[in-house]
Symmetry: D2
Subunit: 280 residues, 4 copies
C-alpha cells in the first residue's frame, strides 16, 4: 500500500447567495482507503454530504452568503495497487457484458462514439483485443494531440479535439473513451488527484472495462497510473465537475496538491504507466 | 387501473452470426403491472434477460445464426394512474435534490443543455417554477417544431432540432429535456409504447423530476400521457435503443401495437394530456 | 456629404520574420470619398497594396522583421448618404437576380443559411417582402441576442449564436445575413469603422440586396448606419479579417477611432438607424 | 486536343409554378472549347442565360409551370490539356498571391480550414511544398475515406467527413480543399462532367493554385484528370449546385453522360491521374 496526501483549496468571492455542489472528496473504495480527511469552510458554514451517488461520487452541498469564501479539503489516502498481468486482460465479449455496464458503451455529451465507428475500426480494428488495445488507443491519443492549456472549453467534445489536435487532460480522456466505446469496449471518465502532477491541478483520466473489472488509463502520460486518486466517476466530464455553482460567484484562487508520503516508491515512477492496475 | 395490450413484431434477415440486445419489454414497476407477457423467437433460440439495469431496463440478449429471424413480444399491462393536482407540484430546490438525481441535470449526447442556459432563461426563466413550467416547455416545443418523419437521424441532437425546427418524437423529447435541465429541472428520456399512437410505432417521451417524483410529459401531443407504457429509461435516446445489433443484419419488417382494453376510459382521451401523472 | 476621421493604430511584437496582410484601409467608392489617407509603419518598411480584390477590398502586404512594429492608418472620408424612401425598396425577384449576386444567397463558413430555411420562414415568412422585412430580421436579432464581449471566438457561427443567444457585432451580422439568405434575400458582410462606436473598435455589419442595390444594416444598434465606413466586403467575417498574420507575433496594443468632423449632423443620430441608406 | 461528348437529362414533376437555376452547361475557357451545344426544354419554355458569373459559371434560368418538365443538355467539347512538368510547380509564396486569389485561402461553408491548421501541419507540414504536396493530400484523402453513396447529405462538411471517414466525390473534394487552405495553398471546388465515370453522374473535384495557375485534382481516383470537364467553379459545393429550384418539384429521373470521342487516347487512362494539368 502506498500512502499519499491530497487536497485542494478553493477561494471564491460570493456576490449573491449561492449554492455550491463540490465533488472534490476522495471516493471511498477498497482500492483507496481514506485514513484521514478534513473539509473546512471559512467563514464557518454547515456542509452536507448528499447521498453518495450510485457510482460512489461524494457530493458536498453548501449554501454560501455573499462575501469571501474559502474551502479547504485535505485527505490522506492509502492506495492499494494490485499487480495484474495485463497480457491476460481480455475485452469482455459483448454478449457477456453485465446489464449495468452496457450504458458505458453509449455515446455521451463529450464522447460521441456513435460518430466514430469507422474511424475506430480503421485505426484499431486490426489490433488484438484486450488491455494492449486500450493501451494502443491511449498511445495514439497521446501522439495525435498536443497538450495545450486553454485550447478547449466546457463545450469541447472528443470530435472537436480529434479535428483540432489539441486539448487538456479531460479532452485526452474523452478521445480515448470515445474510441473504446466505438470498438465495443465499455469506458468511462474519472476525475481525481494525480501524485506529482506538474503543474498541480485536478486531473481527468479514464477507465476501461476488461475481464469483468475496470482498469485505469491516462492518455496524457502526465502522471503514473499508480498515483491516480479517484474523486468521481461518470460517463464523461459532464458528470464530475469538481464544483458546480448556482449564483454569482468569482473564483479568486485555487490550489491543488497530491504528494507521495513515500516518494521513493517505484510504483509511482512514470516508467510504469502501462502496468495493469485494477481500479474498482 | 387501466388495462392495455402492447407488443411488437420484428423481422430480420441475419447475414452473419449476430448478437441482438433487445429493449422492448415493458418495465416492471408499481405504476405498470405486467399481468401476462410473452417473447417468441423463430426459429427457436434461447434468450437471456441480462441483469436488469439500475434504471429498470430489461435487456434481452440473443445470439442469432444466419437466416430469417422473427421476434415477437406481447404483454398485457395494468396502468396505475394516480390523480395528482398538478398545481401543487413544485420544482425541487437545487440544494435538496438527492444525489442520484443530480446526474439528470447534466448534459448528455443528444441533450446539450450546457449550450442552452441563456436560451432557456430567456424563454422560460420568468415563468412560475413547477409542473406548469414544464408544461410550458412542452407546449413551446410542440409549437416550434414540425413533426416530419425522416427529418432527423441517429446523430441529431436537441440543438440541431432547435435550428432546423423539425423532428420526430425522440427529438421533441430531447428538446424538452434539454430546456428543463438548462433551467435546473432534472429530466430524462423514456422509450415506450403509446396507446392508440397513429401510425403505430415505438414512442419516445420524457419525464421531469418535481416534488420528489418523476412525472411524464409528451411534447408531441400524439398520445395521452395516461396511455404511455414505459420500456426503458435513460439520459436520452442513446440509452434505450429498442434493438442494438452487432452483425450484418437487415430489418425486413416491423410492427408495433398498443391498444386499450377499455377503450371508453376517459383518462386516455387526448384532452387530458396535461393531467399530472406520477410515473415512478 | 458628411466628413469623418477614421483610423487605427496597431502595435505588435514580432518574434520571427512575419508577413502581414492588413485590411484596414477604407474602401474607395462613390459613397465614401477618401480625401486624405496615410499609412505609417515603424520601423519604416516598404508596404505594397495588393491588387484590389473584385469586391474593392484594399489589402496591404508587409514583411516584418523581428522586433517591435507599429502600424498607423488614418483617413478622412466624405460619406455620401443618399436619401431613399425605404418603403419603396422591394426584394428582387429570384428570377431577376444578376449572376454575380447569386453567390450571396449561398451559405458560407459562418452563415449556415442552408440549415435555417424553416426557421426563417417560421419567423419572417409572413412579413411583407422588402426593406421592412430585413429591418424586422435585424430587430429580431437585436432582441434575441445579448451583446457580450468574449462570448464567441473565431470559429463561432450564426447557428452557434442562435443557440447561445449571445455574441458580438460580427455574430449579429452573421445571424442577420443567414436569415436573409434563407429567405432568398442576398446578404453579405461588411467590416468597417463606425462613428462614435463605444467602446471604439473595428465594427462588423451587413448589407442586403434590395431593388438592385446593396443597403447597409447594423443589427447591433451600436452605431447609426449613416456613420458606417466600409473597409471590406465579403461573404462573412472569414473574408475580411483586418489583419492576417503568418509568423510568430504578439499583439501588444490596438486603438481604433472614428469621429464625426461635423458632430451636429443629424443623420448620425442613433434615432436614424433605420433610414434607407444605399451603400454601393 | 481531345474531344468529348457530355450532357445530362433531367426530368421533373413540377407541382407549383417554380423557378429553376441550372448550372449544368460546360464552362467556356481556353482549356475546353465548346464546339456544339444544345439545351432543350420540354414543354418548350424560354430559357435565359444569366449574366455569366465572375468565375465563368453559366447559370440558366427557367420558369416552369405545373406539369412534367424535361431538360436536356448536350455539348461536344474539345479539351486542351497542356503538358506540364509537375515537379516544377511550386506553391506560391503567401506574399506574392494576387488579391483576387486570397479569398481561396478562407474557410467556407463546407471547408472549415480554420479548424484544421494543426491537423494539416501535423500530416503534411513536413512535405516539400508544391504540386507533390497537393498530390499527397489527395492520396491521403483517398486512403482515409471510404466512398459510400448516401453516407453524407447537403449539410455535411469536411470536418464531418474527416470524423466519419466516408463520403462521396464532393466530400473528397471538400476535405482536400480544406487541408490545402489550412496549409496556405489556395484551393477551390469544381463541378463537372467526368469522362467514363462509373456510374455516370455529375462529378465534383478541386483545384489548387500553384505557380500562378490553377491545377485540377481528383482525390476520388474515379476518373482521370484529363477527362474532367468543368461546369462551375466556387468556394465549395454550395456555389455550384447543378440545379437550384424554388417551388414544389419532384425529380423523377436523371441521366448524365460523358464519353470520349477518341476512346484510345492515352491521356484519359486512370494511370495518368497525377499528371500536372493546367486548368485555367
Amino acid at each position: 500500500m502506498n500512502t499519499v496526501h491530497v487536497g485542494c483549496q478553493l477561494n471564491y468571492l460570493v456576490k449573491s447567495p449561492s449554492i455550491f455542489l463540490l465533488n472534490c472528496s476522495v471516493a471511498k473504495n477498497p482500492h483507496q482507503i481514506v485514513t484521514s480527511e478534513s473539509l473546512e469552510v471559512l467563514p464557518f458554514s454547515p456542509v452536507e454530504e448528499c447521498d453518495v451517488s450510485p457510482l460512489g461520487n461524494r457530493v458536498v452541498r453548501l449554501n454560501a452568503p455573499p462575501g469571501e469564501l474559502q474551502i479547504r479539503y485535505a485527505a490522506t489516502v492509502g492506495l492499494q495497487t494490485e499487480s495484474v498481468d495485463s497480457n491476460d486482460l481480455m475485452e469482455t465479449d459483448y454478449e457477456k457484458l453485465p446489464g449495468d455496464i452496457l450504458s458505458y458503451l453509449n455515446p455521451s455529451r463529450y464522447c460521441e462514439s456513435d460518430k466514430l465507428y469507422r474511424f475506430a475500426i480503421d485505426e484499431f480494428g486490426h489490433l488484438v483485443p484486450g488491455y494492449s488495445r486500450v493501451t494502443a488507443i491511449c498511445n495514439w491519443t497521446f501522439e495525435q494531440l498536443a497538450y495545450i492549456p486553454g485550447s478547449t472549453n466546457s463545450t469541447t467534445t472528443a470530435c472537436d479535439v480529434l479535428l483540432q489536435r489539441a486539448g487538456v487532460c479531460r479532452d485526452y480522456a474523452h478521445v480515448a473513451i470515445s474510441l473504446c466505446r466505438a470498438l465495443g469496449i465499455p469506458a468511462r471518465y474519472v476525475s481525481g488527484y494525480a501524485v506529482n502532477l506538474v503543474p498541480p491541478d485536478f486531473h481527468g483520466f479514464m477507465e476501461a472495462y476488461l475481464d469483468g473489472r475496470w482498469f485505469l488509463f491516462d492518455a496524457t502520460r502526465l502522471a503514473p497510473v499508480g498515483g491516480l486518486v479517484r474523486i468521481g466517476t461518470g460517463r464523461d466530464a459532464a458528470d464530475v465537475a469538481f464544483a458546480t455553482i448556482r449564483g454569482e460567484v468569482d473564483c479568486t484562487g485555487m490550489g491543488v496538491w497530491a504528494t507521495d508520503a513515500n516518494p521513493t516508491d517505484e510504483r509511482l515512477s512514470p516508467d510504469n504507466v502501462q502496468t495493469g492496475v485494477s481500479s474498482a
